[in-house]
Protein backbone atom coordinates (compact mmCIF):
# COMPACT_ATOMS: atom_id res chain seq x y z
CA UNK A 1 0.00 0.00 0.00
CA UNK A 2 1.28 3.47 -0.85
CA UNK A 3 0.92 6.36 1.56
CA UNK A 4 -1.50 8.25 -0.68
CA UNK A 5 -4.43 9.70 1.24
CA UNK A 6 -5.99 11.81 -1.48
CA UNK A 7 -7.21 10.51 -4.84
CA UNK A 8 -7.23 13.53 -7.10
CA UNK A 9 -7.04 17.29 -7.10
CA UNK A 10 -10.28 19.01 -8.10
CA UNK A 11 -8.79 22.48 -8.01
CA UNK A 12 -5.26 23.75 -7.53
CA UNK A 13 -4.89 27.53 -7.44
CA UNK A 14 -1.17 28.07 -7.01
CA UNK A 15 -0.17 30.01 -3.91
CA UNK A 16 -3.75 30.18 -2.69
CA UNK A 17 -6.02 27.16 -2.44
CA UNK A 18 -6.36 23.49 -3.35
CA UNK A 19 -9.26 21.09 -3.28
CA UNK A 20 -8.75 17.34 -3.31
CA UNK A 21 -11.12 14.40 -3.22
CA UNK A 22 -10.76 11.29 -1.10
CA UNK A 23 -13.13 8.43 -1.88
CA UNK A 24 -13.40 6.03 1.01
CA UNK A 25 -13.63 2.38 0.01
CA UNK A 26 -14.49 -0.59 2.17
CA UNK A 27 -11.58 -2.34 0.45
CA UNK A 28 -9.11 -0.15 2.36
CA UNK A 29 -7.33 -2.52 4.66
CA UNK A 30 -7.27 -0.32 7.73
CA UNK A 31 -11.07 -0.20 7.79
CA UNK A 32 -11.18 -3.91 8.62
CA UNK A 33 -9.68 -3.10 12.02
CA UNK A 34 -11.03 0.40 12.55
CA UNK A 35 -13.39 -0.92 13.71
CA UNK A 36 -14.33 -4.60 13.24
CA UNK A 37 -17.91 -4.58 11.97
CA UNK A 38 -18.07 -0.78 12.18
CA UNK A 39 -15.78 0.75 9.58
CA UNK A 40 -14.90 4.39 10.25
CA UNK A 41 -12.23 6.38 8.44
CA UNK A 42 -9.63 7.25 11.14
CA UNK A 43 -9.50 10.96 11.79
CA UNK A 44 -5.70 10.77 11.78
CA UNK A 45 -5.75 9.61 8.14
CA UNK A 46 -8.12 12.41 7.23
CA UNK A 47 -5.59 14.80 8.77
CA UNK A 48 -2.89 13.12 6.68
CA UNK A 49 -4.94 13.60 3.50
CA UNK A 50 -5.55 17.24 4.34
CA UNK A 51 -1.82 17.62 5.05
CA UNK A 52 -0.99 16.10 1.66
CA UNK A 53 -3.41 18.55 0.01
CA UNK A 54 -1.96 21.56 1.83
CA UNK A 55 1.64 20.32 1.73
CA UNK A 56 1.68 19.98 -2.04
CA UNK A 57 0.04 23.39 -2.37
CA UNK A 58 2.78 24.91 -0.20
CA UNK A 59 5.51 22.96 -2.02
CA UNK A 60 4.34 24.30 -5.37
CA UNK A 61 5.12 27.85 -4.16
CA UNK A 62 8.81 26.93 -4.42
CA UNK A 63 8.37 24.94 -7.64
CA UNK A 64 8.42 21.82 -5.41
CA UNK A 65 12.05 22.47 -4.43
CA UNK A 66 11.52 23.09 -0.71
CA UNK A 67 11.18 20.02 1.51
CA UNK A 68 7.78 20.65 3.05
CA UNK A 69 6.73 18.69 6.13
CA UNK A 70 3.73 18.86 8.42
CA UNK A 71 5.19 20.40 11.55
CA UNK A 72 2.19 21.06 13.73
CA UNK A 73 -1.54 20.45 13.91
CA UNK A 74 -2.56 23.72 15.54
CA UNK A 75 -6.17 22.59 15.73
CA UNK A 76 -8.40 19.85 14.34
CA UNK A 77 -12.12 19.63 15.07
CA UNK A 78 -14.24 16.76 13.77
CA UNK A 79 -18.01 17.00 13.70
CA UNK A 80 -19.02 13.65 12.20
CA UNK A 81 -17.66 10.25 11.20
CA UNK A 82 -16.67 9.39 7.64
CA UNK A 83 -17.51 5.89 6.41
CA UNK A 84 -17.08 3.73 3.27
CA UNK A 85 -18.90 5.17 0.29
CA UNK A 86 -18.25 8.75 1.36
CA UNK A 87 -16.49 11.16 -0.96
CA UNK A 88 -14.62 13.67 1.14
CA UNK A 89 -13.48 17.00 -0.26
CA UNK A 90 -10.47 18.55 1.43
CA UNK A 91 -10.00 22.28 0.91
CA UNK A 92 -6.71 23.83 1.97
CA UNK A 93 -6.05 27.57 1.95
CA UNK A 94 -2.64 29.15 2.49
CA UNK A 95 -3.02 31.78 5.19
CA UNK A 96 0.61 32.77 5.51
CA UNK A 97 3.82 31.77 3.81
CA UNK A 98 7.39 32.60 4.77
CA UNK A 99 10.86 31.31 4.06
CA UNK A 100 10.63 28.91 7.03
CA UNK A 101 7.17 27.52 6.39
CA UNK A 102 3.48 28.14 6.01
CA UNK A 103 0.18 28.21 7.84
CA UNK A 104 -2.77 26.48 6.20
CA UNK A 105 -6.47 26.52 7.10
CA UNK A 106 -8.49 23.57 5.89
CA UNK A 107 -11.96 22.08 5.83
CA UNK A 108 -13.35 18.62 5.13
CA UNK A 109 -16.76 18.34 3.48
CA UNK A 110 -19.06 15.46 2.57
CA UNK A 111 -21.28 17.09 -0.03
CA UNK A 112 -22.54 20.20 1.76
CA UNK A 113 -21.87 18.87 5.24
CA UNK A 114 -18.88 20.24 7.13
CA UNK A 115 -17.06 17.27 8.68
CA UNK A 116 -13.93 18.87 10.02
CA UNK A 117 -11.94 22.09 10.35
CA UNK A 118 -8.19 22.20 10.72
CA UNK A 119 -5.30 24.59 11.12
CA UNK A 120 -1.91 23.19 10.09
CA UNK A 121 1.65 24.44 10.12
CA UNK A 122 4.15 23.30 7.53
CA UNK A 123 7.91 23.73 7.84
CA UNK A 124 10.53 23.93 5.15
CA UNK A 125 13.26 21.52 6.15
CA UNK A 126 16.63 23.21 6.04
CA UNK A 127 19.72 23.43 8.22
CA UNK A 128 20.68 19.88 9.17
CA UNK A 129 18.27 18.50 6.57
CA UNK A 130 19.39 20.70 3.68
CA UNK A 131 21.03 17.87 1.79
CA UNK A 132 18.43 15.21 2.63
CA UNK A 133 15.80 14.11 0.13
CA UNK A 134 12.18 13.45 1.08
CA UNK A 135 11.17 12.09 -2.33
CA UNK A 136 13.03 11.29 -5.50
CA UNK A 137 11.98 13.97 -8.01
CA UNK A 138 10.55 11.37 -10.38
CA UNK A 139 8.51 9.80 -7.56
CA UNK A 140 7.07 13.18 -6.67
CA UNK A 141 6.36 13.94 -10.31
CA UNK A 142 4.59 10.58 -10.69
CA UNK A 143 2.43 11.39 -7.69
CA UNK A 144 1.59 14.90 -8.89
CA UNK A 145 0.58 13.50 -12.29
CA UNK A 146 -1.52 10.74 -10.71
CA UNK A 147 -3.36 13.39 -8.71
CA UNK A 148 -4.19 15.36 -11.86
CA UNK A 149 -2.28 18.36 -10.51
CA UNK A 150 -1.32 19.59 -13.97
CA UNK A 151 -4.80 19.07 -15.39
CA UNK A 152 -6.45 21.41 -12.91
CA UNK A 153 -3.51 23.51 -11.68
CA UNK A 154 -3.68 27.21 -12.43
CA UNK A 155 -1.08 29.92 -11.83
CA UNK A 156 -2.21 33.25 -10.34
CA UNK A 157 -2.54 34.72 -13.85
CA UNK A 158 -4.91 31.91 -14.83
CA UNK A 159 -2.47 30.07 -17.07
CA UNK A 160 -2.04 26.30 -16.62
CA UNK A 161 0.45 24.94 -14.13
CA UNK A 162 3.22 23.17 -16.04
CA UNK A 163 5.30 20.24 -14.87
CA UNK A 164 8.47 21.73 -13.32
CA UNK A 165 11.27 21.55 -15.81
CA UNK A 166 13.83 20.48 -13.18
CA UNK A 167 11.67 17.48 -12.29
CA UNK A 168 11.24 16.49 -15.92
CA UNK A 169 15.00 16.66 -16.37
CA UNK A 170 15.52 14.54 -13.26
CA UNK A 171 13.01 12.03 -14.59
CA UNK A 172 14.97 11.67 -17.83
CA UNK A 173 18.38 11.50 -16.21
CA UNK A 174 17.65 9.42 -13.05
CA UNK A 175 17.84 5.65 -13.45
CA UNK A 176 15.08 3.54 -11.86
Amino acid sequence: MRWFWIDRFLEFECGRRAKAIKNISLAEEHLQDHFPGYPVMPASLIVEGVAQTGGLLVAQCSDFREKVVLAKISSARFYAEATPGDSLVYTAVIEALQKDGASVRATVHRNEELLAELQLMFAHLNGDFADKMLFKPKTLLFWLRALGTFQVGRLPDGSPLQEPEWMRQAEITTPD
Binding site: K72, S74, S75, E95, A96, Q98, K99, G101, S103, M121
Partner: protein
Amino acid sequence: MPSKEEIFAKVQAALVDALGVDEEEVTPEATLVGDLGAESIDFLDIVFRLEKTFDIKIPQGDLVPQDILTNAQYVKDGKLTPEGLTALRQRIPFVNLDKFAENPVVQDFPNVMTVGDICRYVEMKLGV
Protein backbone atom coordinates in the same frame (compact mmCIF):
# COMPACT_ATOMS: atom_id res chain seq x y z
CA MET B 1 -4.17 52.78 18.07
CA PRO B 2 -4.62 49.95 20.61
CA SER B 3 -3.68 50.49 24.23
CA LYS B 4 -1.00 48.42 25.95
CA GLU B 5 -3.75 46.47 27.72
CA GLU B 6 -5.45 45.69 24.42
CA ILE B 7 -2.15 44.57 22.92
CA PHE B 8 -1.54 42.25 25.86
CA ALA B 9 -5.01 40.76 25.58
CA LYS B 10 -4.52 40.05 21.87
CA VAL B 11 -1.02 38.65 22.35
CA GLN B 12 -2.38 36.48 25.14
CA ALA B 13 -5.15 35.14 22.87
CA ALA B 14 -2.63 34.44 20.08
CA LEU B 15 -0.39 32.51 22.48
CA VAL B 16 -3.30 30.54 23.94
CA ASP B 17 -4.21 29.41 20.41
CA ALA B 18 -0.65 28.83 19.19
CA LEU B 19 0.61 26.96 22.25
CA GLY B 20 -2.54 25.33 23.57
CA VAL B 21 -2.02 26.83 27.04
CA ASP B 22 -4.50 28.31 29.48
CA GLU B 23 -5.08 32.05 29.56
CA GLU B 24 -3.96 32.24 33.21
CA GLU B 25 -0.56 30.83 32.27
CA VAL B 26 0.13 33.60 29.78
CA THR B 27 1.40 36.28 32.16
CA PRO B 28 3.78 39.08 31.12
CA GLU B 29 6.62 37.36 33.01
CA ALA B 30 6.10 33.89 31.53
CA THR B 31 8.89 32.70 29.24
CA LEU B 32 7.75 31.28 25.92
CA VAL B 33 9.94 28.19 25.97
CA GLY B 34 10.46 27.46 29.66
CA ASP B 35 7.02 28.31 31.04
CA LEU B 36 4.74 27.93 28.01
CA GLY B 37 6.53 25.05 26.27
CA ALA B 38 7.00 26.72 22.89
CA GLU B 39 8.99 24.76 20.31
CA SER B 40 10.76 26.13 17.27
CA ILE B 41 7.80 25.69 14.90
CA ASP B 42 5.60 27.53 17.41
CA PHE B 43 7.60 30.71 16.85
CA LEU B 44 6.61 30.70 13.18
CA ASP B 45 3.01 30.08 14.23
CA ILE B 46 3.23 33.00 16.68
CA VAL B 47 4.73 35.26 13.99
CA PHE B 48 1.88 34.43 11.59
CA ARG B 49 -0.75 35.02 14.26
CA LEU B 50 0.77 38.38 15.32
CA GLU B 51 0.95 39.49 11.68
CA LYS B 52 -2.72 38.67 11.20
CA THR B 53 -3.95 40.02 14.53
CA PHE B 54 -2.14 43.35 14.35
CA ASP B 55 -1.89 43.69 10.57
CA ILE B 56 1.88 44.04 10.74
CA LYS B 57 4.72 42.48 8.77
CA ILE B 58 7.36 40.65 10.80
CA PRO B 59 10.53 40.10 8.76
CA GLN B 60 12.44 36.91 9.34
CA GLY B 61 14.89 37.24 12.23
CA ASP B 62 13.09 40.26 13.66
CA LEU B 63 11.57 38.39 16.59
CA VAL B 64 13.91 35.40 16.75
CA PRO B 65 17.39 36.55 15.67
CA GLN B 66 18.60 33.09 14.72
CA ASP B 67 21.13 34.52 12.27
CA ILE B 68 23.00 36.31 15.07
CA LEU B 69 22.89 33.28 17.37
CA THR B 70 24.37 31.03 14.71
CA ASN B 71 26.87 33.51 13.30
CA ALA B 72 30.42 32.20 13.85
CA GLN B 73 31.61 35.78 14.03
CA TYR B 74 29.47 36.36 17.15
CA VAL B 75 29.71 33.00 18.91
CA LYS B 76 32.74 31.63 20.69
CA ASP B 77 32.72 28.39 22.72
CA GLY B 78 28.95 28.36 22.67
CA LYS B 79 28.69 31.90 24.08
CA LEU B 80 27.91 35.20 22.45
CA THR B 81 30.89 37.53 22.20
CA PRO B 82 30.55 41.18 23.37
CA GLU B 83 30.06 42.13 19.70
CA GLY B 84 27.39 39.46 19.40
CA LEU B 85 25.63 40.80 22.47
CA THR B 86 25.71 44.30 21.03
CA ALA B 87 24.26 43.05 17.76
CA LEU B 88 21.58 41.17 19.68
CA ARG B 89 20.64 44.22 21.77
CA GLN B 90 20.33 46.30 18.63
CA ARG B 91 18.15 43.71 16.91
CA ILE B 92 15.82 42.97 19.83
CA PRO B 93 15.77 46.09 21.99
CA PHE B 94 12.36 45.01 23.31
CA VAL B 95 13.96 42.10 25.25
CA ASN B 96 15.68 42.68 28.57
CA LEU B 97 19.01 40.93 28.05
CA ASP B 98 20.74 42.03 31.26
CA LYS B 99 20.47 38.66 33.01
CA PHE B 100 21.32 36.70 29.86
CA ALA B 101 24.36 38.94 29.31
CA GLU B 102 25.89 37.73 32.61
CA ASN B 103 26.49 34.32 31.02
CA PRO B 104 25.36 34.51 27.38
CA VAL B 105 25.25 30.81 26.52
CA VAL B 106 23.54 30.62 23.13
CA GLN B 107 21.72 27.45 24.12
CA ASP B 108 20.00 29.35 26.94
CA PHE B 109 18.65 32.08 24.69
CA PRO B 110 15.31 30.41 23.92
CA ASN B 111 14.49 30.70 27.61
CA VAL B 112 15.00 34.45 27.66
CA MET B 113 12.00 35.77 25.74
CA THR B 114 8.86 36.47 27.74
CA VAL B 115 5.26 37.29 26.89
CA GLY B 116 5.99 40.87 27.95
CA ASP B 117 8.81 41.05 25.41
CA ILE B 118 6.41 40.02 22.64
CA CYS B 119 4.02 42.77 23.77
CA ARG B 120 6.82 45.34 23.73
CA TYR B 121 7.78 44.19 20.22
CA VAL B 122 4.21 44.72 19.01
CA GLU B 123 4.05 48.10 20.75
CA MET B 124 7.28 49.06 18.99
CA LYS B 125 5.92 47.96 15.61
CA LEU B 126 2.69 49.86 16.13
CA GLY B 127 4.43 52.92 17.57
CA VAL B 128 2.48 52.73 20.85
